[in-house]
């Protein structure tokens, strides 16, 4: 179930981005966490590092897969969720809340508008499931 919020957008690679002023908070979607299974580790970027839209900034690891996480919008890392170091499972339990991963300062806010809204993302997920995703 997706977050019901006006300021939520999604990338095709299953990251969500919540707009907060000029910054976005980023995590992985419920579909992503479910596909991965029990998450055992999250590799976080360092604060002040810069990423282009679509560039891998971190890694989410479960027992059956390791997935790169991609910047939905180009930006600079402002904050990372250090709590994930002790308890990566929170990404499974609360992917849109406590399971947030990184906060970015956006370089180009118009990129945010280009992301999928909730309806478009749900459709994308249905297509993936039909293709034989988990």
């Amino acid at each position: 179930m997706a977050q019901n919020s006006e300021n939520m957008r999604y990338a095709k690679s299953h990251e969500w981005a919540r707009l907060e002023g000029e910054t976005i908070v980023v995590g992985i979607s419920d579909y992503a966490q479910e596909s991965l299974g029990d998450i055992v580790y999250v590799e976080l970027p360092e604060v002040d590092e810069e990423y282009d839209q679509g560039e891998a900034f971190g890694v989410v690891e479960s027992v059956k897969a390791t997935s790169d996480i991609y910047a939905p919008v180009g930006g600079t890392v402002l904050e990372v969720n250090e709590a994930l170091g002790d308890d990566p499972a929170v990404v499974n339990q609360d992917p849109y809340g406590e399971g947030w991963i990184v906060r970015f300062q956006m370089h180009d806010p118009t990129q945010y508008e280009g992301l999928l809204d909730e309806a478009a993302y749900d459709e994308h997920v249905q297509e993936e499931k039909a293709k034989g995703g988990h």
Partner: protein, 450 residues
């Protein structure tokens, strides 16, 4: 000899069940023009005959059990306790596969876990993997790992010229096409301090070996300082080691090494003309996710009983595929079992004794050879079990005479790898060489040099 159990009648029955006339029908998809080629291979032999042939071939070799060998340079003749063969010869170990079904592979997995533990104890490091192919590929993997630790942003690697020449060659082969530059080993005189001077923020790692290829044991104090210099630029220190030497000397984990690797053949594995050997590999826990190779980890089953599984598998090729830290799949598991049994059999005191005997006998040999006219021991102390001697004649010639006249296999001819060390031989003396054999060798040297 056929190892397939089918009788003609059974084959017929099976073909009927499949619904074809003959086996050849099952190969209909193979292009007709190329199907069923004639193979020019010699006719099959019975067990007796094949063993006779192999015995004949083996007899053409001069081997260390019949000759006395002073050859080292990366492959070593150490004594292997009888218990090793007794255990490694058990087919429950050798005919097993990779322990992907953990519940029925606890033997292989616990062996790996214990091996990892003992490598950590030996090297003073926090985590070790379940093996690489050999010391050379372990070195190559360590450089790639250092590159990944630096997130791919540093392109220089500093490599000491005293690292085994073949390890450096292997590393170069592995780094083709990656844009990583291996520097520092072109100048044989480049020592630790000189290399430290070449460190910069674009260096991902500095690689040294102790004992060096020429046998010198590096001073732990100098290594500590080197580690500091390396860390000051945000790079990692990689140290290649002789595992037997760690029975005696301060392990790299205690001087600040980030990655430790080496050739584990000396731990109970025969020389076997160069393979299969054993690349052992250890690192700091912080870097474990960038380490390639299999890892056995401890866990529990649904009844709470302790057990072991392959873990962090998502780093590996079968899951991560093109994003894997390495393509390694098959490792050297049986050689790691061999090393584990060896380390456990000798244990805390035994491995120390082995190292001490190597040290004493090698130093005795060097001292006696140093007294011979025309021979000069070039190794600065301290060395472990290998040292360099300048000879009064070409080493190839010397070695031929030693073999022909005294049934002795001489040392490694350094002119092949170190042009400035003409007529120099690298001699190795292990605990497997009796003192009387050392004396005989010294006498033989005196005779053949005349």
């Amino acid at each position: 000899m056929s190892y397939t159990p089918h009788t003609t009648a059974q084959r017929q029955e099976m073909l009927r069940a499949i619904g074809v006339e003959e086996v050849a029908d099952l190969f209909a998809d193979v292009p007709a023009d190329h199907r069923f080629p004639t193979l020019e291979l010699p006719p099959p032999l019975s067990e007796m005959e094949v063993l006779a042939e192999l015995r004949e071939l083996a007899s053409w070799n001069a081997a260390a059990h019949e000759y006395t060998s002073f050859l080292g340079a990366g492959a070593y003749f150490h004594y292997v306790p009888s218990v090793v063969a007794a255990i490694v010869g058990r087919s429950e170990f050798y005919s097993a596969y990779t322990p992907y079904q953990a519940e029925i592979s606890q033997g292989t997995l616990q062996v790996a876990f214990e091996y990892q533990s003992m490598i950590c104890a030996l090297t003073g490091m926090e985590v070790a993997n379940a093996s690489h192919y050999d010391g050379g590929t372990a070195l190559a993997e360590s450089v790639i790992m250092a590159h990944n630790i630096a997130r791919g942003k540093r392109s220089r690697v500093l490599l000491s010229p005293t690292v085994h020449p073949e390890y450096r060659e292997v590393a170069r082969t592995y780094l083709q096409g990656t844009g990583i530059d291996l520097l520092g080993d072109a100048l044989p005189s480049n020592d630790l301090e000189e290399l430290a001077g070449q460190l910069d923020k674009n260096t991902s790692c500095l690689v040294v070996q102790s004992p060096t290829f020429l046998g010198e044991v590096l001073d732990p104090q100098r290594l500590r300082q080197l580690a500091e210099a390396v860390h000051a630029v945000g790079a990692v220190l990689v140290v290649a080691v002789d595992p037997i030497s760690l029975g005696l000397f301060v392990p790299p984990g205690e001087i600040g090494a980030d990655i430790v690797l080496g050739e584990g053949q000396a731990l109970g594995n025969a020389m076997n003309f160069g393979g299969p050997f054993l690349g052992f590999f250890a690192c700091r826990k912080a870097h474990v996710r960038r380490m390639a190779g299999r890892l056995a980890g401890q866990t529990v089953d649904v009844d709470g009983q302790r057990g072991f599984v392959l873990t962090l598998s998502t780093r590996e090729q079968h899951i991560r595929r093109e994003k894997a830290s390495s393509n390694i799949c098959t490792n050297q598991a049986l050689n790691a079992l061999t090393a584990a049994v060896y380390l456990a059999a000798l244990g805390r005191c035994g491995l120390r004794r082995v190292a001490e005997i190597c040290y004493h006998r090698a130093h005795y040999a060097a001292q006696q050879i140093g007294k011979l006219r025309g021979f000069e021991v070039l190794s600065p102390r301290p060395f472990f079990k290998e040292f360099v001697v300048r000879c009064p004649l070409a080493v190839a010639e010397l070695n031929e005479r030693l073999l022909e006249q005294h049934a002795i296999i001489g040392g490694f001819d350094l002119s092949a790898t170190h042009p400035h060390l003409k007529d120099c031989t690298l001699l190795c003396v292990t605990e497997a060489i009796a003192p009387s054999e050392i004396d005989r060798f010294v006498q033989a040297l005196a005779e053949v040099a005349r």
